[in-house]
Each structure stands twice: as structure tokens, then as C-alpha cells.
């Protein structure tokens, strides 16, 4: 057997094994985040395996997560989790903190629950309508009322936790709501404001936390103004004619900048190089509502699952995959 051939076979394999053990030895993974137009390194990422949670909220500098069936307190940096609520068979559709009490809305109910110290769900407030989404802001909860027939007529309400008064919010979303796309979104907390972004449209709304009014409705750089086509059925409301991916997935606010985890690359942020492995996070100035820049985060994982959401805790950016969490600093 040709000795040179044997050497040429084993050297690259040894090199790969060497690199593998070198990387395994140090568990720190480093990514370069790059601004679209002005490249700069944004962070060091640390990989934490198998944490299993995919939505994280921060309260009193502690991390809480949910897998939609239960709420967990997550230790950092070990990412071990301790269950703080009983395990449900129905998914939790919204949850948050009112002081130290966890309030949660559960799918297919008309009730907001609180979690008692033993972790049991206790009814907190009953409503005459099904609650679709909740967001707790100071002493109020913003509720998304699910209409009985379809979500074309979903409406936002504000429920004051002290006075128990419920007020319908006047939103500026109706003209975008063909198909319910304007109300199909999620909330982001931002000091005195609340951001409501639409999943399937390149838009977001700003809500005043004190007065509970919709201040503005703005376009993102993704230019996805029109919702995908829908088929209307007079008797059954409507349904979509095909599956489509979300435009905005989630977001967070830091230093008066809105970071929107988007599923779309616009012409403004596209630059040379395929982005098949990356999602963009588009950054907007919340004072001027101007687009600032974008940076990319890894999109797919092979053995660890798909990127599901992104959460910020202080300067730590949590990239939450279905079976893995990557933590970065921005």
C-alpha cells in the first residue's frame, strides 16, 4: 500500500478530529454578528445545550420560560429549569407578571388565571369572551378578544387590574385587518410604550402604556404591506388559501431601539452572500421610527432544531432553538 496515500488519508482525518476536540474542550462558541451596511462584531455567544424552553421572560432579574404546557424558572448560566406551575394539557397562550404573581391565559378559556404558591392555576378574572392573547402592562392587561366566528373581528381591550374596568382600545389597524392579519401578532414591552408587531405583515404599532391608546402604525423595511391572499367563506369566516411563513417572528427593545426578528430580507439589508443560514434582526429607532441597521443570526440547526424565538435579558441575547439555546451579548 502506498505510504503517501495512507498519510494523505489520515492527516486530514486527524486534523478534523483535532479541531473537534479543540472545540469540544472549550464550550464557548463565538459568532460574528455583522451590521448589514457597516460590518462590526456584535457579540460573543455561549452555547447551552438542551435547555428545552422556547419562550423566556425576565422578571426581577430572573429568567422564566415556558414550553407552552408549564412555566419554569430557569437558572443561569446552568439553564437548569424548575417548574413553577402545574403541567397543563392545553397550551398557555399568554402569560406575564403582575408584581410577583404570574398571570396566564389558557387556550379555549374565558378566564385569566394566577399561579398560586403551590403552582396551581386559580381563576383570577372571568370574561364574557374568549381571550386570545394577553400582555400585562403595569396595572392593566391588554387582552385580545377572540371573535366567535373568525379572527377578522378580533379586538383589543384593556382590563384594569385594580378597578376591574374593561375598555375597548381604539386601534388603527382596521384597514389592514382583512384576514385578521393586523391583530395576529405579539407584544413587546418598552418602558412607557408597548410595541405590537404583526406576524404576517411588515408593520408594527406603538401603544401608549399609560393611556392605553394606539399611537402609530408603522411599516418595517420588509415592505410586506399586503397580507397573503385569503379565501372567504360566508358561513365559516375565512381560511387561508395556503400556508405562509411569518414576516415578523418576535422582537425586543433595548436603549430606545426596536429589534425585530424578521423572516424577510429586504433590498435595503441584502448584501452579497447567500443568507440561507441566517435570519435578519432589523433595528429601528423608536424615537424617529427610522430603520437603523440589521444583523444576522444563525437560522437552522441540523441536530438541535430550528430557531424559534429570540429574547433579550440585559445585554444577553438568547437565540432559542427547539432543542438548544445560544446566548450572545449585544
Amino acid at each position: 500500500m502506498n505510504k503517501k496515500l495512507i498519510l494523505a488519508t489520515f492527516i486530514p482525518l486527524l486534523l478534523i478530529f483535532g479541531l473537534f476536540f479543540l472545540v469540544r474542550k472549550s464550550s464557548i462558541r463565538t459568532y460574528n454578528f455583522e451590521r448589514t451596511h457597516q460590518p462590526s462584531k456584535l457579540g460573543i455567544l455561549q452555547t447551552v445545550s438542551n435547555a428545552g424552553v422556547y419562550e423566556i421572560k425576565v422578571h426581577n432579574d430572573r429568567l422564566y420560560g415556558t414550553d407552552l404546557k408549564a412555566i419554569y424558572l430557569v437558572e443561569f448560566p446552568s439553564m437548569k429549569r424548575r417548574i413553577v406551575s402545574e403541567l397543563l394539557t392545553q397550551p398557555i397562550i399568554g402569560w406575564g407578571f403582575h408584581y410577583d404573581t404570574i398571570l396566564a391565559a389558557i387556550a379555549n378559556t374565558r378566564t385569566i388565571y394566577y399561579i398560586n404558591p403551590k403552582g396551581k392555576y386559580e381563576p383570577y378574572q372571568k370574561f364574557t369572551f374568549a381571550v386570545k392573547k394577553i400582555f400585562i402592562a403595569n396595572d392593566s392587561i391588554i387582552l385580545l378578544k377572540a371573535s366567535d366566528t373568525s379572527f377578522i373581528n378580533d379586538e383589543f381591550y384593556s382590563f384594569n387590574l385594580n378597578s376591574k374596568k374593561i375598555i375597548k382600545l381604539i386601534d388603527n389597524l382596521q384597514k389592514f385587518n382583512d384576514g385578521g392579519f393586523a391583530t395576529d401578532g405579539d407584544f413587546i414591552d418598552s418602558k412607557d410604550k408597548i410595541i405590537y408587531f404583526q406576524f404576517n405583515m411588515g408593520r408594527y404599532s406603538v401603544i401608549d402604556k399609560k393611556d392605553m391608546i394606539f399611537l402609530s402604525n408603522l411599516s418595517t423595511i420588509d415592505h410586506n404591506e399586503s397580507p397573503p391572499p385569503v379565501i372567504h367563506f360566508a358561513s365559516q369566516g375565512f381560511r387561508l388559501d395556503e400556508k405562509f411563513s411569518k414576516t415578523n417572528i418576535t422582537g425586543f427593545v433595548k436603549d430606545s431601539s426596536l429589534y425585530l426578528f424578521s423572516n424577510a430580507f429586504s433590498n435595503e439589508e441584502y448584501y452579497h452572500g447567500a443568507h440561507r443560514n441566517e435570519y435578519p434582526i432589523d433595528v429601528y429607532d423608536l424615537k424617529t421610527h427610522a430603520y437603523k441597521y440589521s444583523f444576522q443570526i444563525p437560522k437552522n440547526t441540523i441536530s438541535k432544531g430550528a430557531l424559534m424565538t429570540v429574547t433579550l435579558w440585559g445585554n444577553r441575547l438568547f437565540l432559542i432553538y427547539s432543542r438548544k439555546i445560544i446566548i450572545g451579548e449585544i
Binding site: K4, L5, L13, F20, Y31, G273, P298, I302, K304, I326
Partner: protein, 146 residues
């Protein structure tokens, strides 16, 4: 004699394919060098302090192997180096597909647009093309000019 002639044609064909492949890969990486470094930095097997070095080293290595393949004297060495590099890339791809937390692709040009599985198959095919030339050293099979 006929087999030797065919083998020499095959030898020349593989060398041309490899030269084209490495020049194309090196140039396309060099053109988007900044992007190439970012993609390398996302590689789970390359520590961050080796990213810049690896980026330059890979491009220079590919061009160096091209140089070896272009000369008659060092063609065998070039084939050995090509085989090693392609084997390395194949093992890397297998690792990426099997174990990596993300699937970065730092390959330049059209190769970067290939699906990772097809890319691995392509690498393996190129590796297999080289093996006969290493087992049967074409120097020994050189057709006599007389």
C-alpha cells in the same frame, strides 16, 4: 499500451478538473473575503482566533495546490494534496451535517448554493476520482515517446 494512454487522458482530465475547481473556489472566496470570514467564524469546528488565519490559509492552499497540479514534476504531490484537502472538506461536511449546531457554508461561488448533502456527494466524487491516480502512479505508466 491503450490502457496507459486512457489512464494518461484520465490523469490529465482529473488534473484539469481539480485546477479549475480550486482556482474557482479560491477566487470566489477571495472576491467575497469578508463574507467568507463571517461564514468561517460560524463554523463550529474553527475557533475564533483561527478564523482569519484559516481564511487566508485555505485560499493560499488551494492556489498552491493548483500550482503543483500545473507542473509535471510536482503533479503527484498536487494530487496527494488535493486528495487530502477534499477528504478534509468531506469529513468537515459530514461533521457539519451530523453534529453541528448550525450549518454555515463558507464555500465560494456556485458550490455555496448547493444543498449540503449534494455538496458532500460532490466532494466525495472528486475524492474518489483522485484515488486511482494515487494508487497507480502515472509516472510509472508514462508512455514511452519512442
Amino acid at each position: 499500451m491503450l490502457i496507459k494512454k486512457y489512464f494518461q487522458v484520465y490523469h490529465l482530465f482529473v488534473r484539469i478538473v481539480l485546477i479549475f475547481l480550486f482556482v474557482y473556489a479560491a477566487v470566489s472566496k477571495a472576491i467575497i473575503f469578508r463574507q467568507f470570514l463571517i461564514q468561517l467564524s460560524e463554523s463550529p469546528l474553527i475557533p475564533i482566533y483561527l478564523v482569519s488565519f484559516s481564511g487566508v490559509f485555505i485560499i493560499l492552499l488551494e492556489l498552491f495546490i493548483c500550482g503543483l497540479l500545473m507542473t509535471e514534476k510536482y503533479a503527484y504531490l498536487g494530487l496527494l494534496a488535493s486528495y487530502s484537502l477534499m477528504l478534509f472538506f468531506s469529513a468537515y461536511m459530514i461533521y457539519i451535517l451530523k453534529f453541528a449546531p448550525s450549518i454555515p457554508c463558507a464555500c465560494g461561488g456556485i458550490l455555496g448554493h448547493l444543498d449540503h448533502s449534494y455538496h458532500l456527494v460532490f466532494n466525495i466524487i472528486i475524492t474518489l476520482l483522485i484515488i486511482p491516480l494515487l494508487i497507480f502512479n502515472p509516472d510509472r505508466l508514462r508512455v514511452s515517446s519512442s
